[in-house]
Amino acid sequence: MTGPKFSFDKPGKYIGQPTERPDTRRLLKGRGKFVDDIQLPRMLHAAFLRSPVAHAKIKSIDTSIAENIKGVVKILKGTDFIGIVEPYVGVLSHLAGLRSAPQMPLAVDTVRWQGEPVVMVIANSRAIAEDAASEIILDLEDLPAATNTEKALDKDEPVIHSEFDSNLAWERTVDVGNVDEVYARDDVVTVEKQFLFGRHTGVTLEARATIANYDPSENQLDIYYSGQAPHMMQFIYAKHLDIPEENVRVTAHDVGGAFGIKVHTYGDEIATAAAAKLMERPIKFLADRYESFMSDIHARDHVINSKMTVSKDGKILALEYDDLTGIGPFSMYPRTSAIEANQVLNLTGGPYTIPNYRANAKVVFQNKNMMCQYRAVGHPIAMALCDGLLEEAAAAINLDSVELRKRNLIPDDTYPTTSTTGMKLDDLSHQKALSKLIEMMDYEKLKKENADLKKQGMYRGIGFCSMIEVTNPSPMFYGIGGAPIASQDGATIRLDAGGGIHVASSVTEQGQGTNAVLAQVAADVFGVDMDRVQVTTGDTKTTPYGGGTWASRGAGIGGEAVYLAAEALKDQVLDVAGVMLQSKPEDLNIDNGHVIDNLSKEKRMSLADLARTVYYRGNELPSDMSPELIATRHFRVTDTPFVFTNGAMAAHVELDIETGIVKILNFWAVEDCGRVINPMLVDEQIRGGVVQGIGHALYEECLYSDDGQLLNTTLADYLVPMATEMPEIHVGHIETPTKTSVLGAKGAGEAGTGGAPACIINAVNDILRPLGVTNYQIPMTPNRLLDTLRSAKI
């Protein structure tokens, strides 16, 4: 590299600024291009007949009436895909012992959850396909269903996969130090609680959608995709439909929210691609809301029995728990459904020094929809568990919980260090974050106010959470276990003849503003205005290879690749400029679309002139010069398995003790995501995450009957958090850049979702505890809180 390096010492024109997203105007004008906006010639539409029961043998499927409905083109059953689709199994080699059964896109001989696709109808319109699906007669022989997580491993519970001896999918134990020795001491206090985390899901504005188009003349499969990981899906379609990987193109235009829901392999989407190949015609499948609730992955579903032991002077000595997680009948492919429990084991207690730690996680199969990675995988469980116990322990030793946190947080000056569970931690700021939080919320004043109001019969509480978040993952997350999931990402930047630049990146945009962040970095580092930057993401054919967006990695990894590519392109440009201007490249710089003199800042040549000379009038250049005005760089985290971030959050809530309704009065989040590239977008990520966390804590739950029927499949019955109920969410930042990259950016996408539930749960229990009761079952519905309050001393 010859040119001057980008300096973070002075504020950038874009990096660090609350720059407006260039795509908002387009989206607000209704010019977005989502999968359902795409119409292809000769396109057909798919609808699926889904299993009406949780567990049954398929005796027969009668499609005779449906076939004769005008406009029906093809009806495909599970058996029709045998030999067309290679079955898939959701296991990873680094999750030792994880087992799951092979899956086909449609149920073949047994249905294992209500909502599992059984028959695919392809017709001239979706309405006709639905008409026909309703005329198909499924003859099912009911099998007993295993739906209760706590009974999943009982001897008399039906075993879902006959090839396995039980419904156990995976188990892992972590045992550090010696918890039993701590329990034996007589100078300690132990608190014990059961935590119940209900199932919920990520409700995306744009439901899952796929168009598959197959051209037999070139053996080419084109997928229009609403999702997060185009290259992963390219591999999956290629492998399981037996098409060379380079002949599969996966394109995501605008994506209306994803939240981890759209980073998995769904039978209906694979069936759509397989049918397109079979029929040599484009087929569209768009899940409706009902199907989304029944077939988009669900999240959480944990039963946790736990205890924490503290010394009377406020040191956390031991943490122990058993986590039981229900994942549905299969482990989801290819990420598996064991990651959530694994994260719980890895992350619980991560902010604190906890010398003795014993935890066991059991992941079990159930006859319910599949459970898998959703925003903040495992984090909300881990944080609610540890910080909930911490609040209980603080109360038990009569110490303010903030003080107990202060005494046990890993000190800011001890990094790099290792967590109790062996996680490498660096560049964290728990103490600073907590101090800033306390200051922002004026904790002492708030506490006094709560006490005063209680005398007037108002019940207000404060709940805290200190948290860590896994971001910028290395290959240790998935790649190591054999998954086709890249942890490196690439960026290509080229200088166009007009003097603008084009960025192509392998990270993806689902509405969070990734493209804006990439443009900011490129514009700042290279030296053009943002309106001269075009960004392409979400296309396996035209972007470098990479993992896409998951685990809060877009800015940290994708942004770093853009940073490196922009530096490289700048060097290339300055090399050419040096020759053209008879100057040393190191005496030149690029600013505002011009090559400038680095000292005097005087404009020497516009980038457009430079590019036009290179592209059109190469005769003006020395013949031994072969200028490149395009640079590609890739980046992966190598120093550490994950780049952790930290945060401290608090909620102030009011409980109507007569109705059980919780009102959130205020929420504060202090987040350290390293270098903040766009504070407005980071704040949006934190706030959006907090809102989803509030949904988890108070509203959202997928309710099942005992026989495995999902009971709420509309947005009238499944409550998502709405603007009216949301508090002001105050966001504060600490910036401790990660040393693993030049840019120093960590992820910010999941912190809010990871930390908010703990704050809400703790705030409500701050109210309940003095009344002699607690509630650790979420969502905290009025029904559950009233139930709890019936035994309260009011």
Binding site: S125, A127, E658, T781
Partner: protein, 284 residues
Amino acid sequence: MKSSAFQYELPEDLSSALKLLNSNDLDILPLAGGQSLMPMMNFRVAQPDILIDLNKIDSLKNITIEGDYVRIGSMVRYCELEQSEIIQKHFPLIIHVIPYIAHSAIRNRGTLGGSVSLADPAAEMPSVLITLNASIELSSSNSTRSVNAEDFFKGIFETVRKSNELVTSINIPVSSMPKKFGFYEVTRRHGDYAIAGAVVTSDNGQDNFNDTRVVLFAVSTKPMRVPKSEAALNGNNFNNQDSINEAIDAVTGNSFERDLHNDETTKETLAKVSLKRAIGGLNG
């Protein structure tokens, strides 16, 4: 989520609509504001053979004073009801309750007649109409009858309306606007179907409850009038805590229906809280 095929009719006057309703062997549904019916059709919970869209029938869209009562056409939308000077003048209770009904986008389309015909037990308006002693006008091509609101609602999505009848108006005696009223509902989110709610009215604005009506909603299969609570309040001072407590206690013993999220005990608890707060918030 596409509805099944149906025949669509858009009559321009009432008599044409009523004529269309006369085919006995077909499943015919009238479409008012569509805020419940359209999703039900898209979920294929409702699969009518014929859909009769009432939106062109202007005669159902008026609010008029006719002698000693106000006639509200069944196609009057909530947003129109809310802005009507007649309603504002005569029925402040209705004006008070409208903002609790869903959200403005829904109120811009939803109609009073549609809500009454659907008879969702969690809806606010059926209970309000019972306290206001409203009557529901039902028309068929050969007759018109009027049913007292209290007798109109039979159960979950069930009314006395016959399949060849249409709700054409909701008529409320001007004199029935109570001097005092209270309303309270418990919802988890603003605009949601209530978990429980109560409407309380008294005909005396001075000191004592008089001709009191207590109607609970969202806790049973239909609006639940509670005569024992009414009796406990009648004749007693608005601030008489003993009689208020008696009225609240009288809620116990009624039959409560659970919903997806709330069991019968919660329903009873919240019905009592709603009543207590409705009484506590008496105004007018």
